[in-house]
């Protein structure tokens, strides 16, 4: 078994917990827990500086890296006297919230969504689902905030940064899987091992904003697709301009005769002009150019 101190200057392994946001919760097998505890107890843990790291030691156990925290409890020890190793012991309040509060909220939210689904249109269901999911986050954040009194500020900042980055990556969607690594590299900083601060949490909030903007841009692009098809095609553009114009002329012709059409020529041309203007403006706005007419193309060749 090879044991490496996270604060060892010769250890080039990363200390930033963002890099370990999954591994930090990895549990060693129960069979090896005693070995791990022995290994950790043999370390002089009092000399460890784990104020901003969250990772106190890295132990290679059966070819697998196990990251852990060393904690001393002044109150009643739950499992072992003295040093505890990963998996981190959880308080009664955390257990209660995880086992009771969150499932209770999930069931309530699920039932609410189900009722909405039966009686309301799709968009209302989507909104209620989103609020239920956000509510879940709120519950978790509230639990974290309640526990923050026992934790240093950097812990909460790290949780916020990691959570917001994960949320942003989730919001960005499958098309942008790469942003997760990109944003984690951003949070790791220029050195690659920057400590997590509240400023980083603010940057992570910016990632969420970016992800939302990505999605809005995608939605706008999808919404523009049919208009782009019209703007790109000369036939469709002409149909959009001449169709309603001719329709208006026909309606007037039917009700008021030829004289009526002549009298309303201004209005009819205004309809045509407006639609033509819209098409031209749309082409400029969307940077779309329709194909050149065949005759002109042939002439140019």
């Amino acid at each position: 078994m090879k044991t490496v101190l996270a604060s060892d200057p010769g250890d080039e392994r990363p200390r930033c917990p963002i890099l370990f946001d999954r591994a930090i919760y990895s549990r060693p097998d129960d069979d090896h827990l005693e070995d791990l505890a022995t290994a950790v107890e043999s370390l002089k843990v009092d000399k460890l500086d784990h104020a901003d790291s969250g990772v106190d030691f890295v132990v290679e156990l059966n070819g697998q890296l196990v990251l852990g925290q060393v904690k001393r409890y002044s109150g009643k020890p739950r499992r072992r006297q003295g040093i505890h190793v990963s998996p981190r012991p959880r308080s009664r309040r955390t257990r209660f919230s995880r086992l009771v509060l969150v499932p209770l909220f999930s069931v309530t939210a699920g039932m609410t969504v189900g009722i909405w689904w039966l009686h309301n249109p799709f968009w209302l269901t989507a909104v209620s689902t989103a609020s239920a999911v956000l509510g879940q986050f709120q519950v978790r954040i509230a639990i974290r905030a309640a526990k923050s009194a026992e934790r240093p500020a950097s812990q909460l900042a790290r949780l916020s940064a990691c959570g917001l980055t994960a949320l942003a990556a989730l919001l960005a969607g499958r098309r942008r899987l790469a942003v997760r690594d990109e944003w984690r590299a951003h949070l790791a900083g220029e050195s690659g091992h920057d400590p997590v601060t509240w400023r980083k949490a603010g940057e992570a909030l910016g990632f969420v904003s970016s992800a939302i903007q990505y999605r809005l841009a995608d939605a706008a692009e999808a919404a523009w697709a049919p208009f782009d098809a019209i703007l790109k095609s000369r036939k469709l553009s002409n149909l959009v301009v001449f169709g309603p114009t001719a329709m208006a002329a026909l309606v007037i012709l039917r009700h008021e005769g030829t004289v009526g059409v002549l009298k309303s020529a201004e209005s009819i041309s205004a309809i045509g002009g407006l639609l033509y203007g819209l098409i031209r403006a749309g082409r400029w706005w969307r940077n779309v150019k329709p194909p050149e007419p065949k005759a002109r193309r042939a002439e140019e060749q």
């Binding site: 990363p14 930033c16 590299a185 951003h186 910016g206 904003s209 990505y214 841009a217 940077n287």
Partner: protein
């Protein structure tokens, strides 16, 4: 899908300036762009996304990926992007010059 039209906002101009001036051996990445331009992450990354969609910039990942931290995503101006940026800046300058030469628009001329 239409080619995304890039509007030369202050953010886009600043990002493109940084990308233009980045040396090839040290290309720009998200954090550096934020630091140099002074804009937040919620501003710079959407701008990069728009530029990528328009084909003005290209990205590549740090190679080889480092073992001790996540790999960085570098951005570079493409040749098409460089040309388009040059054209856009020239067109913008021409427009401004045309507006400036319009009689009566300058405060000095009206006085």
């Amino acid at each position: 899908m239409s080619a995304t039209k890039i509007r030369l906002t202050a953010v886009i101009m600043d990002v493109l300036d940084v990308l233009t001036n980045s040396p090839p051996d040290s290309p720009a990445w998200g954090l550096r762009l934020c630091e140099v331009t002074g804009y937040g992450t919620g501003t710079v990354y959407p701008a990069l996304d728009r530029l990528m969609k328009a084909g003005w910039i290209a990205d590549h990942w740090e190679d080889p990926p480092p073992a001790d931290r996540p790999p960085r995503r570098f951005y570079e101006l493409t040749s098409a992007g460089r040309a388009a940026y040059g054209e856009a800046v020239a067109a913008r300058a021409a427009r401004r010059a045309a507006w400036a030469s319009w009689p009566g628009l300058h405060a000095g001329e009206t006085a």
